[in-house]
């Protein structure tokens, strides 16, 4: 078994780290404080090829593998979790499904500009009554000639206000239950597509989380992704990939907080020695380092399975579950290592702590990951 990255993957890590350290880290505290979407650096990520990493060169991407994606995500998340989620949603939840299920015409029109960073995309599955219970969709799309007329509400859409297009999951045939769910790509500015609200959040404050309202919104049939009724299949396969991205984000948050804690443990002195000399502080750091390494290996394994075109859904759920729980624990302990200063905004760890929490919730809560994992263990039983 190989546990070493290739030279190319190491170069991608070095590039992402350098970019994150020079351009993302310096603004991370400020965009968190002001809840400001970092348009400039997102455009830079597009120019560097980070927004559509795995998309083939024919559509403006770089054709990188999933392992490279994990490596780049970890480095960006180490500096700023908001940048990382913007990256993750655009890569896994917008570009990948549009590439995988889109027609040639749709790929040219609705994929290429989203790979290059000219535009960004989002994924609108969750509704007020359909979170964990994602198939309980009520947004309706009624066919009228060469259009659908869409009515309904979506909540918690990451990058919702900033996006130029959204994958919107709708009921096209209510009689069919979740077999009647389809995906429409709805472009911003389409009449009847409203963004009434952007949420105020605990963390990920530089990422906008928006509510969508559709009022008799007419969407061309040419914007349907895949056949009618494919919605849940598209959602589930996108979320399987997405979970690898979120696992990498959680890993990056944990690793970023850990690095700050190690640096602080070397500097801060109490009772005449650096606090890193106290065994109980060492204990926390050792636990953090071990869990982070385990999370990294689980995440890389899920990505490697995907690259090998093997089933990876369960591995991705395990990685996402473990990495997000690790992020919460590691950021909590990173504050503990900092003592009172960790609770103060001047020291970055409190932001990592606030950012970590969401990784246990979106793209399937930790409880839902356990359901997914258990179901794969027990089969239909």
């Amino acid at each position: 078994m190989h546990v070493e990255l290739t030279e190319e993957q190491e170069m991608i890590r070095a590039m992402a780290r350098e970019f994150a350290d020079k351009e993302v880290r310096p603004i991370a505290a400020e965009i968190d404080r002001d809840a400001r979407f970092p348009r400039e650096t997102v455009r830079r990520m597009g120019a560097l090829g980070l927004l559509g990493m795995t998309i083939p060169p024919a559509y403006g991407g770089s054709g990188a593998d999933a392992v490279s994606y994990v490596v780049a995500m970890e480095e960006i998340a180490k500096a700023c979790a908001s940048h990382a989620v913007i990256l993750s949603v655009n890569n896994s939840l917008y570009c990948e499904p549009v590439y995988k299920y889109g027609s040639e015409e749709q790929r040219q029109r609705l994929l290429v500009p989203f790979v290059t960073g000219e535009k960004i995309g989002c994924f609108a599955l969750t509704e007020p009554q359909a979170g964990s219970d994602a198939t309980n969709q009520t947004t309706l799309a009624v066919r009228a000639g060469d259009h659908y007329v869409v009515n309904g509400r979506k909540v918690f859409v990451t990058s919702g206000r900033e996006s130029s297009a959204a994958l919107v999951f709708c009921q096209t045939d209510r009689g069919q239950g979740h077999g009647g769910i389809s995906v429409l790509i709805i472009e911003s500015g389409t009449p009847g597509f409203l963004v009434p609200k952007v949420e105020e959040k605990l963390g990920l404050r530089a990422s906008d989380t928006a509510e969508f309202l559709f009022e008799d919104c007419r969407v061309p049939v040419a914007n349907r992704l895949g056949d009618e009724g494919l919605g849940i299949k598209i959602a589930m396969s996108s979320l399987d990939s997405g979970r690898i991205g979120i696992a990498a984000q959680a890993l990056g948050i944990a690793a970023g907080a850990y690095e700050l804690a190690v640096a602080y443990a070397r500097e801060r002195r109490s009772f005449g020695v650096p606090i890193g000399q106290h065994q109980m502080v060492q204990w926390m750091l050792a636990d953090m380092a071990t869990a982070i390494d385990a999370a990294r290996l689980l995440t890389l394994r899920a990505a490697a399975l995907k690259d090998a075109k093997k089933p990876f859904g369960t591995a991705a759920a395990m990685a996402k579950l473990f990495a997000s729980e690790t992020a919460m624990k590691a950021t909590t302990d990173a504050i503990q290592v900092h003592g009172g200063y960790g609770y103060i905004k001047d020291f970055q760890v409190e932001r990592y702590f606030r950012d970590a929490k969401i990784t246990q919730i979106y793209e399937g809560t930790s409880q839902i990951q356990k359901l997914v994992i258990a179901r794969s263990l027990l089969g239909g039983a």
């Binding site: 190319e8 170069m11 090829g49 060169p57 770089s62």
Partner: protein, 259 residues
């Protein structure tokens, strides 16, 4: 315009350098290797010249062991067209003059209009190569370059070098050697596409024999490396402020002889 950029792979600036047991080299285990930062300015400038002129070729060259390929591949990822690796155990003990002879031989074979170096490598800080290579080739050389502009006809270059308090602008005929100073440009990151494309570009391996040279025993060899003695601990002057200030001034004047 063909531009050759000789680069050196050096330990990362964050490396805790340790002297090896034989006291003639540094401990190489666990070192992360990077392109010497001044050489990155050189690569960037070469790429900019090519982009500005709309045509040309940028060739990265390095002399060193196998690991040097990584640094060359980074140059290819940044946008260099191809690379040359002078990889021959015969050069293991090369001093600057031997290295300069090898690079001059590569330059003669490749016949570029310009060779851009970094002003010095950040490991041993010799800064000798650009001048030695220029001397061997009979080309003009300009050090500490902060800006450059090549004439439209490609026959000459105007280059500004940093001097105390200002810029000294020279005119030189091409071909010539430049040595880049910090501030010349801001090197780009390789893009993902650049990284993915790098493995398709050529890195040519050359031995001393391919260059028609036989390395001579070095005229310069390291006699001994010594670590700096550890810095003495700082001293805290406590007590009454007036007394402490007086003591501080006395110590600065009489002990440190700083004022």
């Amino acid at each position: 315009m063909k531009i050759l950029v000789p680069i050196k792979q050096v330990p990362d600036t964050a490396t805790q350098v340790r002297v090896a047991a034989d006291a003639r080299a540094i401990e190489s285990a666990g070192i992360t290797w990077i392109i010497s930062p001044y050489d990155e300015f050189a690569v960037e400038e070469a790429l900019r010249i090519k982009e500005k002129r709309g045509q040309g070729e940028v060739v990265a060259v390095s002399l060193g062991p196998d690991r040097v390929k990584e640094a060359l591949r980074s140059c290819l990822a940044m946008g260099a067209d191809r690379a040359i690796h002078v990889n021959d155990p015969a050069f293991a003990d090369a001093d600057t003059l031997t290295t300069a002879r090898a690079l001059a031989a590569v330059i003669k074979q490749e016949a570029p209009q310009l060779a851009i170096f970094g002003r010095q490598a950040i490991d041993d800080d010799m800064g000798a190569l650009p001048a030695q290579v220029a001397e061997l080739l009979g080309w003009p050389s300009l050090y500490w370059i902060m800006e450059e502009a090549i004439a439209a006809d490609g026959a000459s270059i105007r280059a500004g070098r940093q001097v105390e308090g200002g810029l000294e602008v020279f005119e030189a005929s091409l071909p010539c050697v430049l040595a880049a100073q910090k501030g010349l440009n801001e090197p780009r990151y390789p893009t993902l596409k650049g990284i993915m494309g790098a493995k398709k570009k050529e890195i040519k391996d050359l031995k001393a024999a391919d260059l028609g040279i036989a390395p001579e025993p070095p005229q310069l060899s390291v006699a001994r490396l010594e670590s700096l003695p550890p810095r003495p601990p700082g001293r805290v002057i406590g007590g009454d402020v007036h007394e402490a200030v007086r003591e501080l001034v006395r110590a600065l004047r009489e002990e440190a002889k700083a004022i």
